[in-house]
């Protein structure tokens, strides 16, 4: 039973280890339902992955003008790992009235 009790000292060193580890890359989910990207605007960091989950029966794209494009087939999902910092506006090439925004921190 005594072994289960963490000394305050051990607790502190564990906390230091956690803080020293680089921030882990996250996966941020954007759902597409009835031709809407939701959330329409997300904040991410370089190295994070955006995963679009398409609930529609229609194919969509996440397209950045003069930039990348991700094709998201009907009822499927597709991902992109963010490589550069900056803000991007994207839209669906098939339905340009669908728009989204990603703010990518360094």
């Amino acid at each position: 039973m005594r072994a289960m009790v963490l000394s305050p000292h051990l607790g502190l060193s564990l906390a230091l280890v956690v803080m020293a580890t680089p921030v882990k890359a996250e996966t941020i989910q954007v759902t597409i339902d009835k031709l809407v990207f939701s959330p329409a605007s997300v904040e991410a960091k370089v190295g994070d992955t955006i995963k679009w989950v398409n609930k529609d029966a229609f194919a969509h794209t996440a397209t950045v003008k003069n930039g990348w494009e991700v094709m998201i087939p009907p009822k499927k999902s597709a991902s992109l790992t963010l490589k550069a910092a900056g803000t991007v506006d994207y839209f669906c090439r098939f339905h340009p009235n669908m728009t989204g925004h990603i703010a990518v921190a360094p």
Binding site: K34, L35, V36, A57, F58, F94, H95, N97
Partner: protein
């Protein structure tokens, strides 16, 4: 008599130009389902003609998108009418749309190359504008079943996207 003839003539002209203009009475759900399905099928037929005739990659890509999306909407529409046990009912608006589309197809059949591309894409802009206007002002407000209304609303968003897409392709053809 003269006045009657004149208004009949005016009505005929309206039918030719605006198939939805004659739908003075509120359409029923079976009629709305038929109109929506017909409108989709007509756009698929137009796209298939473009896929055969056009050599322009933007026009071909647009036509592919139309076939894919409208077929997907129509599959959903058929599933819904089956579920709701609604039998789509032919009506004057569907017939007028079909007649206008046949005339447009015949007109486009005589064109080639860039002239065909321009006429097809311009008509797609106009057609989607017309159908979207009808969805917004007539079909969606008239639909009494909420699921049918929901599908029409999703359809409207899709077709508004198509209208913008068509306008973009039209601007590139100039």
């Amino acid at each position: 008599m003269f006045i009657q003839c004149k208004s009949a003539l005016a009505a005929l002209i309206l039918v030719g130009a605006m198939p939805f203009a004659q739908a003075a009475d509120k359409p029923t759900d079976p009629q709305i389902a038929h109109i929506a399905y017909t409108a989709g099928t007509l756009d698929i037929e137009a796209a298939k003609q473009a896929l055969k005739k056009s050599k322009n990659k933007d026009v071909l890509a647009f036509a592919h998108d139309m076939v894919r999306d409208h077929e997907a909407v129509n599959v959903q529409a058929l599933d819904l009418v089956k579920k709701l046990k609604v039998t789509p009912e032919d009506n004057a608006t569907s017939q007028a749309l079909t007649k206008a589309a046949a005339e447009e197809r015949a007109k486009l059949a005589k064109l080639k190359g860039a002239a065909f591309d321009k006429a097809y894409v311009d008509n797609e802009v106009a057609y989607h504008k017309q159908v979207n206007g009808a969805l917004e002002t007539l079909l969606i407000p008239s639909a009494s079943n909420t699921e049918l209304k929901g599908l029409l609303e999703t359809g409207l968003k899709i077709f508004e996207g198509h209208e913008q897409h068509a306008e973009h392709v039209a601007s590139m053809l100039k």
